[in-house]
């Protein structure tokens, strides 16, 4: 056992950290070794001076800092998982149902207003009338007025309106 180990053992004896047989052994050695006895006396004196003079210090984190951080991380993840799995709160219910319904209601209101503001031309599209076209690329639109008193065939065609000279002469 080297000098440093011997000093540490004496220090442990002063601090009361040695077990019963070991403490008894080292007390016996103190009786026989003057150097050790002097060291023990010096350390005991220093301990006496320091007792009550040490400033109390508390660790910012507990001794099991590493494990406590892991535990906190696990708890935080569990809380987040519970939050996600939790049924919709009042605010969520509002977002999921009330806002879409309000949107649909606004759309229907808009369409209703559009219908009421549309000018009433009294046009209907259903009819038992027959239409035959001879030119394929001629655009045609046909409709009846609401009271069925006028049927219209609208052709995308510019008709020459000039009067025949013979007719003009006859008229």
């Amino acid at each position: 056992m080297n000098e440093n180990e011997i000093q540490l053992k004496v220090q442990a004896l002063v601090d009361g950290e040695l077990t019963g047989p070991e403490a008894k052994e080292w007390r016996g050695r103190l009786e026989t070794d003057a150097g050790l006895k002097e060291l023990h006396a010096r350390l005991t004196a220093v301990r006496g001076l320091m007792t009550g003079a040490e400033l109390p210090r508390t660790l910012p984190e507990s001794g099991d800092f590493h494990w406590s951080q892991i535990s906190k991380a696990i708890e935080r993840e569990e809380r987040q998982a519970k939050h996600l799995a939790r049924p919709a709160s009042g605010a969520n219910w509002l977002l999921r149902w009330v806002l879409p319904l309000a949107g649909v209601a606004c759309l229907m209101l808009f369409l209703t207003l559009q219908q009421t503001t549309r000018p009433d031309l009294g046009i209907s599209l259903g009819s038992d009338h027959e239409l035959e076209l001879s030119i394929d690329d001629l655009d045609v639109m046909t409709f009846n007025t609401g009271d069925d008193a006028m049927s219209v065939v609208w052709l995308d065609y510019s008709l020459d309106l000039q009067q025949d000279e013979m007719d003009l002469w006859l008229d």
Binding site: G122, A149, M150, V153, L155, L159, L161, Q162
Partner: protein, 152 residues
């Protein structure tokens, strides 16, 4: 016995008369009466054109209710008396004409020709007081209308 056979004879006679009336009535209904159709070539425009004849007010109101133009001038008018199953032609402008056929059950067929080619044929029942209109754009600010009506 004699009274019974007389009753039977009368019943058969009444039945035959009723059958004859029914058949002849149906035949009369199936016949097409001669009709008179008025065809008007009308110019619809938003600008007033002096010297031109405006269409009758009933036609103007009907057209103005549907179309954007407010002024409707009658360029030409033809009256066609069409017999049962017959077809009459009316020339409305230098290059256009209509053919009107009198079909069964008050139905008429109107064909519009332009530059010798048939553009469209429309068939419908035309009642008195109702109008068949063939129309189209002619330029940016006017339109042509062929307004057909059945005279009473």
């Amino acid at each position: 016995m004699i009274a019974l056979s007389l009753n039977n004879l009368i019943s058969r006679f009444i039945f035959l008369v009723a059958l004859l009336l029914f058949v002849s009535g149906g035949f009369v209904v199936a016949q097409a009466d001669p009709i008179t159709v008025q065809a008007r070539l009308v110019l619809g425009t938003s600008k007033e054109q002096k010297g031109k004849t405006e269409v009758p007010d009933t036609i103007r109101k009907r057209l103005a209710k549907v179309f954007k133009w407010m002024k409707y001038y009658e360029l030409r008018s033809r009256r066609l008396s069409i017999g049962d199953g017959a077809t009459k032609t009316a020339k409305l402008s230098k290059t256009s004409k209509i053919e009107v056929s009198n079909r069964k059950n008050g139905k008429i067929a109107v064909s519009l020709f332009s530059e010798g080619k048939m553009l469209v044929q429309k068939s419908q029942t035309l009642k008195s007081g109702s109008y068949m209109v063939l129309a189209g754009g002619s330029g940016t600010d006017s339109a042509w209308f062929i307004v057909l009506s059945k005279n009473k």
